[in-house]
């Protein structure tokens, strides 16, 4: 069992949980994730580790409530426990050793950008972050990222920072400054737009993918993505890939596989749907 040590609401549906997982807190590296399994009947959910504290044994997970299982996770309070946390999984971020990195985060993806910026900063790389959200309340990790370099904030509605998309701000920075590597994490359309932008400029771009995943150890193949026409498993080969090679259309499509199920699951949890009779359950 893994106790919740701290809890913080970052946005209307984004919550940060600090979870006790001492071994993972000790060895995790930027870019790695854990699989979280709240209870017996819950889903296994992959979550990127946003931060850790080896002294308290805490790992920080930033969770956007989307399906029933994520809603239950964000509903946890200090002292509650998560049944299973496995990791750290996936490859650590490919970091440049020197130069200038542009870190772009959209929405909850900003939490994933955080350890990357942190790691780059520790290596002495100059970091510029561009982060965004729909409006002011959706902008997260701004203060944390400011520790590692300049932060440009964008909101879709202009309620905070610049009005517009993160790609607009990124485009200006790429035009004005030499950038050695771009790291982009956020919704699929955002990562696709960044990859399209940097492809033309010839700037290597790393994206972190979050496909449907079950075991996280390579066993199920549900997280397969197409990379330059070849199949890769996000859990063992990723989760970070060369953004210029990722088939984002396919990724977005596969992410929609269980949308109807998610809605049914939420409705049932809220008591607004009748539990379906299931004749095929074991005794």
């Amino acid at each position: 069992m893994h106790r919740i040590l701290a809890r913080q609401t970052l946005s209307p549906n984004v919550t940060r949980l600090d979870v006790h997982a001492p071994r993972i807190a000790q060895i995790r590296q930027a870019g790695q994730f854990v699989i979280v399994h709240l209870a017996e009947n819950a889903e296994r959910i992959p979550l990127t580790i946003a931060d850790s504290n080896p002294e308290t044994g805490a790992i920080s997970l930033v969770i956007q409530a989307v399906g029933k299982s994520t809603h239950e996770l964000v509903g946890l309070n200090i002292g509650d426990s998560i049944r299973d946390v496995a990791g750290p999984l996936g490859h650590p971020t490919e970091m440049i050793a020197a130069g200038h990195a542009l870190c772009i985060g959209g929405g909850v993806g900003t939490a994933v950008v955080h350890p990357i910026a942190q790691g780059l900063h520790q290596r002495g790389v100059r970091v510029t972050s561009v982060i965004g959200g729909r409006s002011r309340e959706w902008v997260i990790f701004e203060r944390e990222l400011q520790r590692y370099g300049q932060v440009v904030v964008c909101t879709d509605d202009g309620s905070y920072g610049r009005k517009g998309f993160v790609t607009d701000a990124a485009k200006e920075i790429l035009a004005a400054d030499k950038v050695d590597m771009v790291y982009a994490v956020g919704p699929v359309p955002m990562m696709r737009a960044v990859a399209n932008l940097t492809r033309g400029l010839g700037v290597r771009t790393i994206v972190s993918l979050n496909p449907v995943m079950i075991d996280g150890t390579g066993m199920c193949g549900g997280c397969r993505v197409s990379l330059g026409g070849e199949t890769r498993f996000a859990c063992v080969d990723g989760p970070e890939f060369d953004g210029h090679l990722v088939n984002f259309d396919e990724l977005q499509d596969r992410l929609s596989t269980y949308r109807e199920f998610e809605q049914r699951s939420i409705a049932c949890a809220a008591g607004t749907c009748r539990m379906e009779k299931n004749t095929s359950s074991p005794a």
């Binding site: 071994r23 993972i24 060895i27 399994h37 009947n41 819950a42 889903e43 296994r44 399906g67 029933k68 299982s69 049944r83 299973d84 946390v85 496995a86 990791g87 750290p88 999984l89 079950i214 075991d215 996280g216 150890t217 390579g218 066993m219 199920c220 193949g221 549900g222 397969r224 197409s226 199949t231 498993f233 063992v236 396919e250 499509d253 596969r254 929609s256 596989t257 269980y258 199920f261 049914r264 699951s265 049932c268 949890a269 749907c273 539990m275 379906e276 299931n278 004749t279 095929s280 359950s281 074991p282 005794a283």
Partner: protein, 479 residues
């Protein structure tokens, strides 16, 4: 052997049929198909064993169960002793009694098979093992003298559990590391409830933990700890982390929504209980027409599962014929009775989807059998111009797995073959002293019982290895 019954009388008894759920009923539920022999039939079946002086059945058993001995004890009314004898040879008899391909092992070489049907060794093993599960208090608890030697086992599947049982019985301090949240490996994520109830796996695991075996779930070796890190804490290591990555067909359309690997399909349903959605949170696409590609045990498990989830058509698509199906005979037989359709001599060339990228069918080619290939099986050859579309809304790919790189990539001294499987000798010894390996990570995809055989042999080799190293535990073995 008692003179209660003559050989002639034994020969006159015909093989007892395994009672099973009626096909129509079981095709709509996940309850176990085989119900187990009742006492009377089990004792009758046991009397069919001729108690050969040179029992060939034992040589046919990968874990070397003393088959005539436990059957003889059973016929003599000493079931507790029969159970003890069986458990001494086989750490998981309730599992093997259900999932072993007896027809190619012990029963294949039974002398009674020469004239008629072999002794139902699997049925009797299951009978005795189930008795043992229900009467644990009647079995002596032998507590071995602790040796002070520590062994780490990677993976709690059939190989790992077997090795754990053997090593614990010899007094070693055993810790199993399991990557998933529940112990059992393929026994819980792969093999369906109707063939191997999860309760039975849980009880077998519990018997091992009661014997002192420690199991730590959610530990991914290669990530949470590496093999070199384990070497610092343990005197020996047995790697049995299983098959790993599913192989896909590499045809267009394979990433459409509705295409699963058999591992994903079965894991969703078995481990994550997707059959019980929305009570269970993990969903699975309930296909109306499910095409399962492949002809092995995993394919049979997947297609029979699809049937139980309500598929109107549950189909096996296999490029050879019925005679070449690698699956266990009973599984094929059960699938046929449950209404599974078999598309033989058929090979997929493309998965077809609609404009929303949902699977709507699979373009296939008809095949014919040509000359035998290196495996001795006749090679399937394409019949030109034979393409057709098989309508389906879910495709399950069950054509095998390849080695998982997670562990091996973080242990550079471990010698691998060209497919990424760990190289180990017949005793499981790898290229690193004190590190042994067995099961699918060595063999590629094989069976539960072969993995168990590896676990048993490796445990014996580990025991010998441990006897040769100095007593104080916890010493560093890194070279």
């Amino acid at each position: 052997m008692s003179a209660r019954i003559t050989t002639k009388q034994r020969m006159q008894i015909t093989r007892q049929a395994m009672p099973e759920q009626a096909a129509a009923a079981r095709a709509a539920n996940f309850l176990e198909v085989n119900l187990g022999l009742p006492e009377r039939l089990a004792l009758l079946e046991a009397d069919r064993c001729l108690q050969c002086k040179d029992p060939r059945c034992m040589q046919g058993c990968p874990v070397g169960v003393n088959i005539p001995k436990f059957i003889d004890l059973l016929t003599a009314g000493k079931i507790a002793e029969a159970a003890q004898s069986l458990l001494c040879d086989n750490a998981l008899p309730a599992v093997t009694g259900r999932v072993c391909p007896q027809e190619t092992q012990c029963e294949a070489v039974c002398v009674r098979a020469a004239k008629g049907l072999p002794v139902g060794v699997g049925y009797l093993e299951r009978y005795v093992a189930d008795w043992a599960r229900d009467h644990r208090d009647q079995l002596p608890q032998v507590r071995p003298q602790p040796t002070g030697k520590k062994v780490a086992i990677v993976g709690s599947g059939p190989a790992g559990l077997t090795a754990a049982g053997e090593l614990a019985r010899r007094g070693h301090d055993v810790t199993i590391y399991e990557a998933l949240h529940k112990p059992g490996g393929v026994l819980v994520y792969g093999i369906p409830e109707f063939r191997l109830p999860k309760k039975i796996v849980a009880q077998e695991v519990e018997r091992l933990t009661a014997a002192g075996v420690k199991i730590e779930c959610n530990v991914v070796i290669g990530r949470t700890y590496t093999i070199p890190e384990l070497q610092e804490k343990f005197d020996a290591i047995f790697i049995a982390n299983g098959a790993g990555l599913p192989v896909f067909m590499n045809v267009p359309g394979e990433n459409y929504k509705g295409v699963y690997s058999a591992n994903e399909y079965l894991t969703r349903i078995n481990l994550m209980a997707a059959y019980d959605f929305p009570r269970s949170d993990t969903p699975v696409l309930n296909g109306q027409r499910v095409a399962v590609v492949g002809g092995g045990n995993v394919a049979m498990d997947a297609v029979r599962t699809a049937k139980r989830l309500g598929a109107q058509a549950a189909m096996i698509v296999y490029r050879r014929t019925h005679d070449e199906l690698p699956a266990r005979a009973e599984e094929v037989h059960h699938a046929e009775h449950e209404g599974v359709k078999f598309e033989f001599l058929t090979a997929p060339v493309e998965v077809i989807g609609n404009d929303k990228r949902w699977v709507t069918g699979m373009k296939c080619q008809k095949m014919k059998l040509g000359e035998p290939d290196s495996s001795g099986r006749r090679r399937p050859e394409v019949i030109p111009g034979s393409e057709f579309v098989l309508d389906c809304d879910v495709v399950v790919v069950a054509i095998g797995t390849r080695a998982n790189p997670l562990l091996t990539a973080t242990c550079p001294d471990l010698k691998l073959n060209k497919w990424g499987n760990i190289v180990a000798d017949e005793n499981g010894q790898t290229s690193i002293p004190g590190v042994f390996a067995g099961g699918d990570i060595v063999r590629g995809a094989a069976t539960v019982i072969l993995a168990m055989g590896d676990g048993k042999k490796s445990a014996q080799a580990i025991d010998t290895y441990l006897a040769g190293i100095p007593k104080p535990a916890g010493l560093t073995m890194a070279a």
